[in-house]
Amino acid sequence: MRLHPALKRWESVLALLLVAEILLFGAINPVFLQPSMLLYATSDFIHIGITALALTLVIITGGIDLSLGSVMGLSAITLGILWVDGVNIWVAALAALAVGTLSGVFNAVAIHLSKVNPLVITLGTGFLYGGAALVLSGLAGATGYEGISNFDPAFVNLANLQVVGLPLPFALFLALTVGFMALLHRTRFGRYVYLIGQNPRAAAYAGTPVFRTLVVAYALTSLMAALSGLILASYFGSARSDFGTTALMPAITAVVLGGTSIYGGSGTILGTALAALLVGYLQTGLQLVGVSSHVSSALSGGLLVIVVALRSLSEMGRVWFQHRRVLRNVAAE
């Protein structure tokens, strides 16, 4: 059986799974198939997708960012604190994005200076940023996890705005997907990202600006995390320091399920975007058919395990068949 090369790609499998998933849930509960339902359900999980897009770059360079959840909380709290202090909401939002970007730059600098595994460094900076968010909200008197609310109505309405018939966060996600695809697959920077992931030493010897590329990749990830924090603040109408704690693992799941190698060097933005939708709709769909949100998160965990194990098995099978063919050829001679 000969398949068109495009169909052999992992992204096609993901797209098929996505369609099958939506049809399956639609068959159980027809409400799921209404376009408005499908569009507005994204608001619950699209922040994960937006962060995962940028995280793809970091993971392709062979790194990882465990601090992005904390950055979400930090950016939301920064917005809240400035708003409480009487700063214009849009200025506060810009400041929150700036804080996010800076924390990403700090990640990259710390990784570069210490030459320690990014996993460890961002684990540490994750504590740091999450702690900073807690301190800020504590100093502002937002006791515990209550959060800061009463934002400018214009800002709160933002998450419910429509752009060409799409909810603004989802439209933003689509635009960012295209933007990141162009960045990763069509620019010199994108090629550097792959090269560093394939072989950092060879990349350095080939004159690749390794440090600069890493700074941009980590800064973009934190920027997207900060943006997600703002989207959540707008969506919920309040800012809390623990916003991102549950977003980290799903974001990594989306990237890995999307076909990016956790060891770096390969992966695509389209895969991540599709996987983010796949996991997000799985959660929504399961809740719609009456499965509790906690069990649905177990099922998405199970999905990740099964998909990755199957990919690994098929790879092992491919290698096995290859070896057998070689052995048979040798035996024939």
Partner: protein, 355 residues
């Protein structure tokens, strides 16, 4: 010399920081500087100790387990449900530990037999096991645990609870076991060089699965200790503990790249993480300062340690190639040699200055 010593005995640097922390505490109030405080922190770090032992084993094999928090929760819920259903305490704990072992073995099988990368596999089981927690508990807290069960973590002989004694024994056994037994060494061998370990006759897959299995068992024990300590079991029991366990081990010198580390170091790392929390309470700082201070110290330690390692490596390389680096040599070689020697010299000078 000091640098060499710290390099050889990675645990010593954490021990130094702990002493430093206690010194700050002593400056604020002399009365806190007592053995009671040490014991208090020890009692608070039991869970992290147990998790750090498991994390050390898994990380020694060049693995990583981010599902331990969920295994903790699952074991606690299983133990709680069984006890409330009228089971005896030992039987309930036994089943809970068994559940942890099975969860760990499943992680190990995914990583070892199916060749899934450790972080991805355990990320999946993190969600999976947490879902089982909610499924079993039905979303409600489990309360009304038997008093005898709670008594396991109440202070007993010499100011230590029965569980605290058990953990002490575990720490010693695990430390010696990982350093001096063939099985312990084989974990490090697998982590250092998987193919090499296979060639010298180590059953690589079995060792890896065993490391994850033991880690699961220990996580379950941590879950049981958690339930006994706080007396009820929320659905969120154990969330976020995986990161604290990994951070403790890394602080204590266990390498994420496998092959190096000691249980003693990881335990000191865990003790340090807990003493920050406890000392902030004693200093009457608001609890929200915990994470930022822990994170800052963690980063400073990691970055300094990375720098020291780099300096030592460079120093060794300099010693090795010194005879080739001759400033008098003619031509482009000399320039290259000088360029190469310059960073070496500066690090040498700084290391002299440190002495």
């Amino acid at each position: 010399m000091i640098i060499r010593f710290l390099q050889r005995h990675r645990e010593a640097s954490v021990a130094l920081i702990i002493v430093f922390l206690f010194a700050i505490l002593g400056l604020v109030d002399r009365s806190y500087l007592s053995f009671d405080t040490v014991l208090l922190v020890y009692g608070n770090s039991l869970i992290l100790f147990v998790l750090a032992i498991g994390a050390t084993m898994v990380m020694a094999t060049h693995g990583l387990d981010v599902s331990v928090g969920s295994i903790m929760g699952l074991a606690a819920v299983v133990a709680g449900l069984l006890m409330n259903a009228g089971w005896g305490i030992p039987a309930a704990i036994g089943v809970a530990l068994l559940v942890g072992l099975v969860c760990g073995l499943f992680n190990g099988a995914l990583v070892s037999l199916l060749n899934v990368s450790a972080i991805v596999a355990t990320l999946g089981t993190l969600g999976l096991y947490r879902g089982l927690v909610h499924l079993l508990s039905g979303g409600a807290w489990i309360e009304g645990l038997p008093e005898n069960f709670k008594a396991l973590t109440k202070a007993g002989s010499l100011g230590l609870s029965p569980v605290a004694w058990l953990v002490l024994v575990l720490l010693i056994v695990a430390h010696l076991g990982l350093r001096y037994t063939a099985f312990g060494r084989s974990m490090f061998a697998v982590g250092d060089n998987r193919e090499g370990a296979r060639l010298i006759g180590i059953r690589v897959n079995e060792v890896q699965i065993a490391a994850y299995g033991l880690n699961g068992l220990l996580s379950a024990l941590a879950g049981v200790i958690f339930a006994s300590q706080i007396g009820f079991i929320p659905n969120t029991a154990g969330t976020g503990m995986e990161m604290r366990a990994i951070a403790s081990s890394v602080l204590g010198g266990v390498s994420l790249l496998g092959g190096t580390g000691t249980v003693l170091g990881a335990a000191l790392g865990a003790y340090f993480m807990t003493s920050i929390d406890s000392i902030l309470v004693l200093l009457r700082l608001e609890a929200y300062w915990n994470d930022i201070i822990a994170g800052a110290i963690l980063l400073v330690v990691l970055i300094t340690d990375g720098k020291i390692r780099e300096a030592v490596d460079r120093h060794l390389r300099y010693q090795k190639y010194r005879k080739f680096i001759d400033p008098q040599a003619a031509g482009q070689h000399a320039d290259a040699a000088k360029a190469a020697a310059r960073p070496l010299k500066t690090t040498l000078e700084t290391s002299e200055a440190r002495k």
